[in-house]
């Protein structure tokens, strides 16, 4: 039996429904909510657990930061039989409406990155599966947390909005970024557009749930990566969505 080169998993190791946090640490946090859970592999940034949730099989696999590692994870998980993928991540606000601790469920994503073009041309929209999105929306509506549905900017350079656009291509980046804001973008992350485009290309369903870790005007020095006070919110709604998905 073939072992997947990067995620280090074998046939039968995963459920058809997989949660995709970026960080291996969050994979372990999510795994604590599963029953009969087993760590299947931990290779590079890919840490995978499989168990049961709401009486049905569920897997969790971390994807690492960014599109290149996300695309590899999706390709290998789909080869192993994954059909529904839900990202469980963090994002940075780009809009005063979205404040720290609120949830964002991206309807679609700006492709400010380099991986998706190797799947579909740039004019093709990176968009969520509407059925999975609806489950996340229902889960968020039943939670006490504020949530927003809209467009997420997926950028491939973390420091782009925070380095004062001081890099050599800064002027161009600044105008591009401003155009996204004028298009109504709510937040930015580093993975959602790639998840959507690779899933659409391979014919599987995907959606994304994000918790916002800053206010839109936060400076670089005030940012936090894994905020303990709100990370659990996105985990909560993702698991509630899973409960609704598996119960049909």
């Amino acid at each position: 039996m073939m072992k997947m080169m990067h995620v280090g998993l074998l046939d039968g190791d995963i459920a058809p429904l997989v949660l995709l946090p970026g960080s291996p640490e969050r994979a372990a946090v999510i795994a604590t909510h599963l029953q009969d859970v087993e760590e299947k592999a931990y290779n590079r940034e890919y840490r995978t657990f499989t168990g049961e949730f709401a009486g049905k099989p569920l897997s969790v696999c971390s994807t690492g930061i960014g599109g290149p590692s996300m695309a590899i994870a999706v390709e290998e998980l789909v080869q192993l039989g994954a059909t529904r993928l839900v990202r469980v991540g963090t994002c940075l606000s780009t809009n005063p409406l979205v404040t720290r601790g609120s949830l964002v469920i991206p309807q679609a994503a700006v492709r400010m990155e380099g991986v998706a073009e190797q799947y579909l041309p740039p004019e093709f929209p990176a968009v969520a599966d509407m059925e999975l999105l609806t489950y996340l929306q229902e889960a968020a509506s039943s939670s006490p947390y504020e949530h927003h549905i809209g467009t997420c900017i997926t950028r491939s350079s973390y420091y782009t909005p925070f380095d004062g656009f001081s890099r050599p291509v800064g002027n161009w980046l600044k105008e591009t970024w401003n155009s996204y804001l004028q298009g109504g973008a709510l937040c930015s992350d580093m993975d959602t557009a790639i998840l959507f485009i690779v899933s659409q290309s391979l014919g599987v369903a995907s959606a994304s749930a994000l918790v916002c870790t800053n206010n839109h005007d936060t400076s670089l020095y005030e940012l936090e990566d894994d905020p303990e006070d709100c990370e659990h919110r996105v985990v909560d709604i993702a698991l509630e969505a899973v409960r609704r998905i598996v119960n049909g």
């Binding site: 309807q107 679609a108 994503a109 579909l120 740039p122 093709f124 929209p125 509407m130 298009g183 109504g184």
Partner: protein, 260 residues
């Protein structure tokens, strides 16, 4: 937002004559069919391809404006309606199938659009997704479900050139067109028409709530430009869902005491 007093140069109508909820079909002839579903419809403008009728729906003023075919004339309509204070624009149109998932007679409510056109790029760069307003889109999905008609919410390809789809081989850039089109279909696009991505993009930029309701005029790989294949027998479905969805949107807005 300040509402323009002067009549815009293409629509040539005044803001008193137009509702804030507007249907924007492509075809001039479809305007009367949609308006006949409103109460007390009347003609308020007719200049170039822009035919404008206004009536009421559950007591709220609603208008219908034809955009003509394609992004350039559609963008003019949206800009001028926006200047007149219109906040909700819904396309009622026709489209062709690009997948076995879309069949003749299906009501299509696209969740996003491929930007195979030029106008939206004068607003936002290529990588920005063209999507309808989520709340309006969701309301239309509910309206389609209630109607009982077969429906589909797949990605739509918005193309600038109608004959790209009908006779691509006659174009010097054919190999490129074929590669692009093939990628779109493999990405899951279920249908194609000529205005959606422009409408969605301009909606995002100007803060207009948009969605699109279309009737699928063909089965997969059965394209036609024969007038006898025009979806006259089916278009009432898109009109019915279009009107029902608008009623629901108006009711939701009333319940909330205004638009977001």
């Amino acid at each position: 937002m300040k509402i323009q007093d002067k009549k815009p140069i293409h629509l040539k109508i005044s803001h008193q004559d137009i509702g804030q909820y507007v249907f924007i079909p492509g075809s001039v002839e479809r305007v009367e069919k949609i308006a006949s579903e409103l109460d007390n419809p009347r003609v308020v403008g007719r200049h170039r391809e822009f035919y404008v009728m206004t009536g009421t729906l559950d007591g709220t003023m609603v208008s219908v404006v034809s955009t003509g075919i394609g992004g350039p004339s559609t963008s003019i309509v949206m800009e001028e309606l926006h200047a007149l204070g219109v906040h909700t624009m819904v396309r009622i149109g026709s489209c062709a199938s690009t997948s076995t998932l879309s069949r003749i007679g299906d009501v299509i409510i696209p969740k996003a659009a491929v930007k195979m056109e030029g106008t939206s790029r004068s607003y936002l760069p290529n990588e920005f997704p063209a999507v309808p307003d989520f709340q309006i889109f969701s309301t239309y999905l509910r309206a389609a479900r209630r109607s009982g008609f077969p429906h589909n919410s797949g990605i739509t390809i918005t193309k600038d050139s109608f004959y790209t789809e009908v006779s691509p081989r006659t174009k010097p850039v054919f190999p490129l067109l074929q590669f692009q089109w093939d990628a779109y279909e493999r990405g899951g696009a279920t249908n194609t028409s000529m205005e959606c991505s422009t409408i969605f993009t301009i909606g995002s930029v100007l803060g207009i709530r948009t969605a699109s309701v279309m009737i699928c005029a063909t089965n997969y790989q059965a394209y036609s430009n024969d007038d006898k294949d025009y979806p006259r027998d089916w278009e009432h479905r898109a009109i019915k869902v279009g009107i029902e969805g608008m009623r629901m949107i108006i009711a939701d807005d009333k319940k909330r005491g205004g638009i977001r």
